[in-house]
Subunit: 459 residues, 2 copies
């Protein structure tokens, strides 16, 4: 038996990485119906890996769409705390495919990174939890606390099934704290716990103009154009300074405490580097009176993710398009309420339709923003372990992203969530050439194992 | 030998229609590279039909893209006038396919109409010229004037090859007047000659934001969004009242003469019917201080024909898109100059790019607007023949569409063009379920034959 988790990880590096690669080869793209079978295969892979790690009561739970995977280890007994480990095995679509240097579902090692869709978000990170259990059992022979695993396959499409499941099974999922690894270190080498997340309202707007595509010569100048109508409408949603124009949108927005804002300004951040290396455009946008971290962490936004309408093939076609659609989302911050925002947004969109244009709004998902108390004992232990492992004090940050499940855990299980992620800011989540630093995968396994040990033995 | 063209047409209806159907079955979509072979087949079909009608010196002329077809009949001799017959055998793409009631390339008779892509624009109409020659030779045994035919396969994609050919072959194409049937009657039963056409500048705008698609949670609020940037940019091109915002755009616009405007107001026109039956939306748009006919016939416009960018599949993907493109055209009126408009437009687009967004403008084609003198002798004969055939005085109108070749004939051959079209306003050019009234096909054959006869014998 290896003397420590670190030793176990060290002597099993190749296998631990190969198993992750097998997981990443499954194109479990939850939003594309043609990949439903792959999503199912990924769920089975997760279930089997939980069994192999020694977890018990492993279940693949069918839902209306993609299965949940549950497992537990309750042998530490009632005197010990219980951690609910969450992750997701589904991934974003890989398009545009032509921008990938190596195929998205053929994991490739390059420069100390593992390139694959899902390597950081979230397969590579959720798999660390499983491997931490394996490593603990193999090296220490025991796990000094109780564990429950709940892994979903719909995170990238709104997570409807897990939300329902959590709401309906609070007893089964009873725990003291949840652990999620689906975020990033603030920067390479900085242990980071994320204590705030934005909420997300995702919608589709469909605009309809004439009853059919019209000849732009014969009708141009008098007939409404669905694409231009949608363009006009979208232009009303946000001004050039990045300020959302939906009435009342900012009413409930909570400003971060002065101390939190101050801690953000002490973090290393170069706007020039962020612009050049991460964004790669000629200028940043958004609310000019806010720092970039404020804009991304503590300010709500509105984005258009995609738009399509009319003739978009090669060459020229002179039509006045009959219809056009856009995908539009809003990121919300504490204390905005998704339902209230949806209502105000829908009303504004409907009222803002240009003459001759009918609009229809579909709400695809609506998740709440979240803040976690950094003084919770589990978070204190996590911060200490994390800092000790990396040799630096842990920083508390927020993320502009959305992990709706954290809100579900708070609402239905009344527990806080530790967001202990090992990604890096340039991992390229949702982008071509997503990657995960290989060392961080191993660091994550041993850090999480150490957290389980410390939180279990100290309680 | 039949006693008249009308008798010949009457006794050959079924065959004349069947031959047109064969022509319409060829999916000669000039803008789609995968249909290049079909475009070539259509050219051969035209050449063979010209030979069959008795025309001479038939040539299929290769170009950089799709072939031209030439033929002539010069046996009337130098004392007689020469008419240059023009038409095009290429068609628009049929999409959206799902809106067609019967397949676009399987011509179908329904309610007295022939439904097919190209039935009215322009195969069904150009074919009348060929069949008029056939009918004249079969019934009268002679053609009392000289004819040249020049038929192209690039009309729907800007007509670059024919423009070059006309410029380089003024002697070969020498004629007194050109005849084009690619327009519509003002309304069912009203003989109409179109004497004005709008010009067309067709462009593509490409907007680029971040160097790759970004996660909208992690970057939303600070990173430029190529789709929203393009939306902002397009919104600056035209205001909500339909007024184009490019500086200097209206500087050279010529107002129609008071008499011409007055004649338009005397035409039967119901705005309510136009809105309900042709456009099919809840309201018209455009310059409110102009009548609908003015807006479409004598005012320049700007339209967005299509837009694409970001994620547009089913479901949700939370990206900030890296790039987006739009197809944008402007219709021009006398005396606007396409080159001048292109320069002002390109400058305005480049200067209007939002922060962080790079834009690139590609000009796909640029054609001039045109006005024809209604007092030209050939046009007077055409008006008289047309009126006599239909039992009503011929009206002079304009069209909002663009037939760039008419400008080429004016510039390089110094001849006017008779725009004698037999379409109807609801033919659905460029739209699903394009149709051509079957009776108008036969009416066109005999009217054109009668025009040839009268113009030839009177000169």
């Amino acid at each position: 038996m290896p003397a420590s988790v670190s030793e176990y990880v060290e002597s099993n590096r190749a296998r631990l990485l190969d198993e992750l690669k097998d997981f990443l080869r499954i194109p479990s793209i939850s939003t594309l119906p043609e990949h439903a079978g792959d999503v199912g295969r990924a769920a089975e892979f997760v279930a089997q890996s939980l069994r192999d790690a020694g977890l018990e009561n492993v279940e693949v739970i069918p839902t209306e769409r993609h299965p949940l995977v549950y497992a537990d280890w309750l042998r530490a007994g009632e005197g010990k705390p219980t951690v609910l480990c969450y992750g997701h095995y589904d991934v974003q679509p890989p398009d545009p495919l032509e921008l990938w240097h190596t195929p998205p579902f053929e994991p490739t090692e390059r420069d100390g990174n593992l390139y694959a869709r899902g390597s950081a978000d979230d397969k590579g990170q959720m798999y660390m939890h499983v491997k931490a259990v394996e490593a603990l059992r193999a090296s220490l022979g025991e796990i000094p606390l109780n564990l429950k695993f709940l892994i979903e396959g719909e995170e990238e499409i709104g997570g409807a099934s897990i939300t329902k499941y959590v709401a309906e099974n609070p007893e089964k999922l009873k725990a003291d704290v949840a652990l999620v690894s689906d975020t990033a270190l603030y920067a390479e080498g900085i242990p980071t716990l994320c204590i705030g997340l934005r909420g997300l309202v995702y919608t589709e707007i469909e605009a309809t103009g004439p009853m059919r595509d019209l000849h732009s010569g014969l009708y141009g100048g008098a007939a409404p154009n669905a694409v231009f109508g949608l363009v006009e409408l979208l232009g009303k949603l946000k001004n050039a300074d990045g300020v959302v124009q939906v009435p009342g949108f900012y009413d409930d927005v909570a400003e971060p405490a002065a101390a939190e804002k101050a801690s953000w300004t002490s973090l290393p951040f170069s706007e020039a580097e962020f612009l050049a290396k991460e964004v790669g455009s000629s200028a940043l946008t958004g609310e000019a009176d806010r720092t970039v971290l404020e804009r991304v962490w503590s300010r709500p936004t509105l984005e258009v993710h995609g738009i399509a309408g009319g003739f978009t093939g090669a060459g020229a076609k002179t039509v006045i398009p009959a219809s056009a659609t856009a995908k539009v989302s809003m990121r919300l911050v504490p204390n905005q309420n998704p339902e209230k925002v949806v209502a105000a947004y829908t009303k504004f969109v409907e009222e803002s339709a240009p003459a001759g244009i009918r609009v229809k709004v579909r709400v695809l998902s609506a998740g709440e923003p979240l803040l976690v108390d950094p003084d919770h004992p589990a978070i204190q232990v996590a911060a200490e372990v994390f800092g000790a492992k990396m040799g630096k004090p842990t920083v508390f940050t927020r993320s502009g992203g959305s992990i709706p499940i954290v809100g579900d855990f708070a609402r239905h299980l009344k527990i806080p969530t530790i967001l202990m992620g090992f990604g890096l800011p340039d991992d390229g989540l949702h982008s071509p050439n997503e990657k995960y630093k290989i060392e961080n995968y191993f660091l994550g396994i041993s850090t999480i194992a150490e957290f389980f040990t410390q939180y279990g033995t100290r309680s």
